[in-house]
């Protein structure tokens, strides 16, 4: 049984939006919902009433009828609020009227003073840039893509595009041009926003060549907006270009306009690279994102106007989109662009102290780094403002709860998990619930999360048997508004179906393994599919296999995640390769493979170990079995042994000297 690490602050909980919303639900239904399990059961059992009450009481700006709430019980096809219209950006900037001088964004870098934008300044800049984009022909539904750092300018650019009804899609500066093009090209974007330089670790790297490659490779492009300085990157004749500051200065009189669009108007496109094929372009709708983030940020995270939220993220991770929505709550966003360890290992903790951060969202990999580098935050920074920490991107190990309690301060540490696919969190915190070591405090309201398959004799529902928890594949069995509205260029929904609804008919299959405990908490146990999570970054093996095609020495390959407690993030990437006849995996070939992955993908795509094997595990149907190989690699029982054509190859993995961990 896990230890309670932190009891809920009941005085604060009394004034929380979660408590107020619960009372709204109690008044509307006549139910007593003070037990969270009962409240949660209501939120999924009466999901239409729940989402309707949430929209009603949220303070979100919208028009139209809330009826119907959802067109179907079938989560693959049910559509939420088809007669509601709203504007995502209007909602994010709505606090500017009440208090325009209050700070909205603090954008920090490795050096120098932060760029501070008040609510009024942010709205003015968004209005000016939106006006300039409109004048250049940007219309609702156009794709605006970005190669961006996490700066105030990126925030302005994104909000400007979205306010017009354009669709935003961004990647961070860590991705090389080939991978960026693989993501952006299918979208046929009209506008590319790009930073042209990248300061990191005290040095500045030029991105001009990469921006030039993108500009030349995106034939649909009509406009290039530099997010810093205007540089000639060899822009093709049909593409106009300008710097963001110049575009804004063209429109000094622009007023903020926010035309309202259907609830399910596309908002963001995020990317998920899987085990085969090109990255999937996941489209998230405005209303679903807005309502889900309102629930997660205002209710579950209890963000308030006086909060300052710092999410350690690049502009290419879904957490960037997530933190942007915190403007909804009136809280300030604290952004950071740069290395976590510059000028010193404790840089982020010093930033927290300097900027008065109250809620800090980080990752297990970063906490691991802090431990390894000997950082003791409580001794090196003023953490008096900090009241809450969130961790996401990978499994947060029990010992990391202890490390935070001992080295940061006793505070609520919420392990939150969901991801790109839902642009939100299935499991997260709750202002009225305690934190247990190694466990997420609860399943989010409105998410009918279950563990499948259930053990014999149980139902597999949220309510587990009394003596033990449930472990299984994370599925969600009731419609929710932040389900993606589709994949780009997937008109009949085949790709969406195959990705989420094919494995367990009629319900969402997420690809994670979960434990639901008897007290209603949850543990995410890792992926069930072939997607890798290295250093908290999600890596699609397909992108690795694509690069390996240029190596005639390699006839087959399989990338796997190996649990490695001493590694940041708790795991490392292994690449098994089958060599062509006569080829040898010597050091020269190993380094050539790594170098190719680094230059054509990213450093995160480089495996820790490349090991030669005589064959990959294959099922009797001829399909490679990642699950069997991964189980063998991690010393777990192989569940589908009988289905394998060549089970003997697993012994080669188990006994391979290159695959032993340092502590073995």
């Amino acid at each position: 049984m896990s230890t309670m690490m932190f009891a809920a602050d009941m005085e604060r909980a009394e004034t929380s939006a979660m408590r107020a919303f619960r009372r709204v639900c109690e008044a509307a239904t006549g139910l007593k919902l003070d037990d969270y399990q009962v409240f949660h059961d209501f939120s999924v059992g009466s999901f239409r009433e729940f989402w309707d009450l949430l929209l009603q009481s949220s303070g979100l700006l919208y028009e139209g009828s809330r009826d119907p709430v959802c067109t179907s019980e079938d989560m693959e096809h049910g559509v939420f609020f088809p007669d509601v219209r709203l504007n995502y950006v209007e909602n994010l900037l709505r606090h500017a009227d009440a208090d325009p001088d209050r700070v909205a964004v603090r954008a920090c870098t490795e050096s120098g003073e932060p760029v501070v934008l008040t609510r009024g300044e942010l709205r003015t800049r968004v209005a000016r840039l939106a006006s300039a984009l409109r004048r250049r022909g940007v219309v609702p539904g156009d794709r605006v893509v970005a190669l961006a750092r996490n700066t105030a300018d990126t925030t302005v650019a994104c909000l400007a595009a979205l306010s017009l009804g354009a669709i935003w899609s961004s990647v961070g500066t860590d991705l090389e041009a080939e991978l960026v093009l693989a993501r952006f090209k299918p979208l046929r974007p009209k506008v590319l926003m790009a930073h042209t330089q990248f300061p990191y670790q005290g040095r500045t790297t030029s991105l001009v060549e990469r921006v030039g490659t993108l500009t030349a490779g995106l034939q649909s492009l009509e406009l290039l907006v530099s997010l810093d300085q205007d540089l000639d990157v060899g822009v093709p004749g049909q593409v106009s270009h300008g710097a963001i500051a110049d575009l804004e200065s063209e429109e000094p009189e622009a007023r903020f306009e926010a035309p309202r669009f259907p609830f399910n108007h596309p908002l963001f496109i995020l990317f998920s690279s899987g085990t085969t094929g090109a990255p999937k372009c996941i489209i998230h709708g405005a209303g679903g994102t807005l309502l889900e983030h309102d629930k997660e940020l205002r209710l579950h995270t209890d963000l308030r106007q006086e909060d300052r939220l710092f999410v350690h993220t690049s502009a290419g991770w879904m957490m960037w989109n997530w933190q942007l929505s915190a403007l909804l709550t009136g809280a300030e966003l604290v952004l950071y662009d740069g290395a976590v360890s510059y000028p010193e290992a404790d840089a982020l903790w010093k930033l927290i102290g300097r900027e008065g951060v109250t809620a800090f969202c980080t990752s297990p990999a970063y906490l691991h780094y802090c431990r390894d580098s000997g950082v003791v935050p409580k001794e090196q920074a003023d953490l008096s403002s900090l009241r809450l920490m969130l961790s996401t991107g990978a499994v947060l190990f029990d010992a990391q709860y202890d490390w935070v309690a001992e080295n940061v301060k006793p505070l609520a540490l919420h392990s939150i998990s969901g991801g790109t696919d839902i642009l939100g969190c299935f499991v997260m915190g709750h202002p009225e619930l305690p934190v247990y070591r190694g466990e997420s405090p609860c399943v989010g309201l409105g998410f009918d999360v279950r563990a499948l398959p259930p053990p014999p004799g149980t139902t597999g529902t949220m309510v587990p048997p009394p003596s033990e928890g449930l472990v299984g594949d994370l599925i969600c069995a009731t419609p929710f508004p932040s389900r993606p509205i589709g994949f780009f260029e997937d008109a009949d929904g085949t790709k969406l179906h195959d990705a989420y609804f094919a494995e367990h008919r009629g319900v969402w299959t997420h690809g994670d393994r979960i434990e639901l405990t008897v007290r209603g908490t949850a543990r995410i146990l890792g992926r069930t599919d072939g997607v890798l999570n290295v250093l908290g970054l999600r890596i699609g093996p397909a992108e690795i296999y694509h690069v390996l095609q240029e190596f005639p020495e390699i006839t087959a390959a399989m990338a796997l995640e190996q649990q490695a407690p001493r590694e940041p993030g708790g795991s490392r990437m292994i690449l098994l390769v089958v060599l062509a006849k006569g080829a040898v995996l010597d050091r020269a070939l190993t380094l050539r493979v790594k170098k190719a992955l680094r230059s054509k993908a990213s450093l995160a795509h480089v495996p820790a170990v490349i090991a030669s094997v005589s064959a990959l595990a294959v099922t009797r149907n001829g399909k490679e079995s990642v699950a069997a190989a991964r189980a063998a690699l991690n010393g777990h029982p192989v569940r589908n042994l009988g289905a394998l054509r060549n089970p003997e190859c697993l012994d080669e993995i188990r006994n391979h000297p290159a695959l032993r961990l340092a502590s073995d």
């Binding site: 360890s341 580098s373 380094l591």
Partner: protein
Amino acid sequence: MSYAMIRAVVVEWLDDQYHFGDAEKLIGGNDELSFLDRAILDSLGFVKLVVHLEDLYRIKIDRKNLTRVNFDGMKKIVTYVLSHKDYRGPR
């Protein structure tokens, strides 16, 4: 265990982790070169290298000593390991 052998271990690690065959070229025969200034290693990389050396040589490196003065450059790294009180060679 000589300076040259520990140096080779560091070069091999740099190649495996970050430079994939180019580490020696980047160092250019100048063991006094700052790894940080020349972007051969960033501070995250330093921590990973330290953990690797601790594992390999069964030594414990006090993080308070992980400074530019002690660690930023090939000569400093190798000299630090060689002079460590618990240093006995590799596992």
